[in-house]
Subunit: 199 residues, 2 copies
Amino acid sequence: MAATSVLSKDSMKESLAKSAFELFSESGFKEVKLEQVAARAGVTKGSFYWHYDSKKSLILASCDCYYKLWFEAARKTVSTKNDPLEQLEAVIQLTTEQCLLDEKNRIFTTELFSLVIQDAEVKAGWQCFYRNVHRFYCDILDRINASGKFFIENPAENIDWLLSAVEGIKQRAVIDPDLCRAQARDHIVRKLVTIALGG
Amino acid sequence: MAATSVLSKDSMKESLAKSAFELFSESGFKEVKLEQVAARAGVTKGSFYWHYDSKKSLILASCDCYYKLWFEAARKTVSTKNDPLEQLEAVIQLTTEQCLLDEKNRIFTTELFSLVIQDAEVKAGWQCFYRNVHRFYCDILDRINASGKFFIENPAENIDWLLSAVEGIKQRAVIDPDLCRAQARDHIVRKLVTIALGG
DNA sequence: TACGGTCCATACTAGCGGGTATGGAAGTGT
DNA sequence: ACACTTCCATACCCGCTAGTATGGACCGTA
């Protein structure tokens, strides 16, 4: 197998996953047809099956795509600050914006939760992602503790409450347009920071 | 139309809605087929269409079923206590148990959220239900305030955070079996009460 | 030049499930 | 006794889509 072939194969496989992720984020897993996914990637359904053996494999790939994007954005956001407290605020701000303003994010995660309940593999993937996100936040709290400015007693539990609140906000945002106002957003971010710090 | 016919008609229509609600709570909206719903209610698919004109009507009816059951359980729970603070604790306890122990509840609501995003009618129904739940909790807080024992500054906002946290817990419970331990449950209930009281 | 692997398109199958057409049994009003 | 309504069953249609069968173009290799 030549090097170019390898690249071509992987790139099309990833392109299909990315196309799927985008479409799933607009209409959900069941609504999106394989032909649409293939078309967006520039191939046909027949070719799709050369790269994936089923729709479910594609769904799993699109989840990985989402997980990867989350960490890319989060790490990038963190890297813009030096102070760990500012890092926490920045990541919470990022997460809040995603919940409140990015409807596609909401659609994808909501659909994902349905699947998590129904499918063991999807559940395992989500479980892994959730643990990593949890650790990501905890690391920031640990750095805050190390800085000596604050002392956070139960970082892990605070983060659990933070993540719970975030999911709740995501759902409220679906039916409550007022949450998207800049003022409400800032208020939410401040409240979430308080939760993370154990207040 | 005779009285017996009226009763029979409404009873079968409700029976179909109830059967649908139960099946949806086990496998989700898309998975459940109209034939299953009809069979559980003791009729066939053809008969189903005499009572409902589409699967979507059935879904809406099953949602109403859920909403009704929630308020029945909540009101019953509240009626067992006189002290509004105890009422609050009891309802939060009830809600938590539903989130943590009742998998069917989780499945139904998770599926419901997917639909809320996709369908305007389902969304409107959920919006109405959410408002009523919100008011239900706020009324309890108002009674607590009236009792003079506590003073809760922002009842409405506290309840928003309470409901957000509850939804987050529901999701965490899917992947975290530890939450179902009695000890963890009590801890969560205490924390939620604190949130409701504005702590 | 012959061969085998890669990647893709075209055309097709299969079966599932929402919805319909139709008829019939039982009860009701006159 | 007659028509009429209500409620249900049987049998059927039809659209849709995941997945398959097949063949061909291209590329590296011997």
